[in-house]
């Protein structure tokens, strides 16, 4: 498993840190763009995370 760097941890903890510095959206179009940007930011974070091919999706929970 890849070890995250401190910088990556800080980014993942405060994932909205980048957004925090930005003004709040003022109309539905800006809001939708901000929501899509957030989705993309999340996906970019996931893309950086290397996964072994053998890793299957979570589908059940064991005690």
């Amino acid at each position: 498993m890849k070890k995250l760097t401190r910088r990556e941890i800080a980014v993942s903890i405060s994932a909205s840190a980048v957004l925090l510095a930005q003004p709040l959206p003022t109309n539905p179009d800006e809001e939708l763009k901000a929501a899509k940007d957030l989705v993309q930011q999340n996906l970019q974070q996931l893309a950086k995370f290397p996964l072994p091919m053998s890793t299957e999706p979570a589908s059940h929970f064991k005690a």
Partner: protein, 475 residues
């Protein structure tokens, strides 16, 4: 006709049960008093979605008949409770806190409501909630059909969500206990902000049949009460296998704190940085005392750290993708625009664009997270961390903006335990532990799947040594 003393509105389940058996008052008298209070004070805090006075009084009359014949079914028999308005209750509106569903009526009951009413619990009202249980995200406390949940400790502050009405109603003595739901924080947050005890059960332990789905792989239903003991009594009744819920774990729960492991055999993990650096400065003295109290229980204590995973992006992607799939008809119809919160509207629309491969990547990382927690909890029995790092924000505050401009500490500690614990399907118990700026603060205990009795035994021991859970807001 017996009058109901004010203390009863803040009494425990066991205390009320004892008084009902002693016939100090009848279930009908108790129910009338609670309905009056819920109808009078509920709207003051935007906590009430729907009063169920008539069916509650009919049920109360039946339970009085049972008690008269000494037919005792459960400690919850005759106890007034409320349910988050995402639980179906037949022939009555179930709004999911959202304008597009304001007229929605089901012809069946949620399994948890059937379980509670069958043993004589008295459902007095449906309680307000954040619209669609928060959906992918929302910006303002006002994201609800009933307006912002107002905190009983200070009505200028938020109650927390998405189980807002449940948190308010228990804290203000409008019901003896309530049902809430959690996808990622919706039981723990209002429990912490309102100063009550909330239990998020292991994923699959409590049936979600009849509950609104927000995220099939994350949704849980749990009790919000005055104490750990009350949470155990309620969980005892609502847990169990249900063929109607595909995620049901097929397990029962028997509340037996006396048979949980000896406290001195329990190893508790915490991170100093959570309490000393991440937490709001005003909360640190009471958090420090809470940790001291935990140590005084005789448990073993060790430093712990959350495994390094991108919990926020993983849970954000999963909730967005699943919520967008669930609410696709709402989004495509355009009625999504009737929701109160612009961020929620935009978030639901944006979720439709998440590719399948990315959703699956999030779920694959989730597999590793679950394994990492199995490894972490092989050596540690219970993790302890602040439930929330700050007290309840002002109702006008944007929730996606920081509560303070303090720089983030360098170490993660256990910060992020709410999304992490939800991704791993772990149970959590939130316990009031003090105040900051006049508002309640809480710690959370998180354990292995199906370790609720252990969490409750630690919680019960903590509450035998503290009085925070008995504090009442100025109503």
């Amino acid at each position: 006709m017996a009058s109901i003393p004010d203390d009863i509105f803040f009494a425990s389940i066991a205390e009320i049960n004892q008084k009902l058996k002693a016939k100090e008052f009848s279930v009908v008298e108790l129910t009338k008093a609670f309905c009056d209070r819920l109808e009078r004070l509920g709207p003051r805090y935007n906590a009430l979605a729907l009063s169920l006075r008539e069916p509650a009084l009919r049920a109360a009359k039946n339970v009085d008949g049972d008690i008269k014949r000494e037919r005792y079914r459960s400690p919850l028999q005759g106890i007034p409770f409320g349910a988050k308005d995402l639980l179906a209750y037949e022939k009555h509106p179930t709004t999911w806190g959202a304008r597009p569903y304001a007229g929605q009526v089901f012809d069946y009951n949620a399994t948890v409501l059937n379980k509670l009413t069958k043993i004589g619990g008295i459902l007095t009202g449906k309680l307000a909630m954040v619209e669609l249980a928060g959906g992918p995200s929302y910006r303002y406390a006002s994201a609800s059909l009933t307006g912002p949940g107002l905190n009983p400790w200070d009505r200028t502050r938020w109650s927390g969500g998405s189980s807002s009405g449940s948190g308010i109603a228990v804290a203000a003595g409008l019901v003896t206990f309530a049902l809430g739901s959690e996808t990622s924080g919706s039981i723990l947050t209002p429990s912490s902000f309102c100063g009550i005890t909330g239990l998020r059960p292991t994923y699959g332990l409590v049936s979600r049949y009849g509950a609104m789905a927000l995220s099939w792989t994350l949704d849980k239903i749990g009790p919000m009460c005055r104490s750990a003991e009350d949470c155990g009594l309620v969980l005892h009744e609502i847990a169990g296998s249900d063929a109607e819920d595909p995620a049901s774990a097929g397990k029962s729960f028997y509340f037996a704190p006396a048979f949980a492991r000896n406290l001195k055999d329990i190893k508790i993990g915490f991170a100093t940085v959570d309490f000393d650096e991440w937490a709001e400065p005003a909360a640190r003295p009471d958090f420090a005392k809470a940790l001291e109290t935990i140590r005084s229980l005789g448990v073993q204590v060790t430093e712990a750290k959350l495994p390094d995973y991108p919990y926020g992006p993983v849970i954000g992607t999963i909730i967005s993708a699943e919520a967008a799939a669930i609410f696709e008809p709402l989004i495509q119809s355009g009625r999504v625009n009737e929701l109160a919160d612009q961020k929620q509207i935009a978030g639901l629309k944006a979720g439709l664009e998440i590719p399948a491969k990315d959703y699956l990547k999030a779920m694959r990382i989730r597999s590793l997270i679950q394994k990492a927690f199995r490894d972490l909890l092989a050596d540690i029995d219970v993790l302890v961390a602040p439930s929330r790092l700050t007290p309840a924000p002002k109702i006008t505050q944007a929730l996606d903006r920081p509560a303070s401009d303090r720089p983030a500490p360098k170490e993660r500690g256990l910060t992020g335990l709410i999304p992490a614990g939800n991704l791993a399907g772990l149970p959590a118990l939130s316990l009031p532990c003090g105040f900051a700026d006049g508002m309640p603060m809480s710690i959370q205990l998180v354990g292995r799947p199906f370790s609720e009795n252990m969490l409750l035994s630690v919680g019960k021991a903590f509450q035998e040594r503290t009085e925070w859970h008995k504090r009442r807001p100025p109503i």
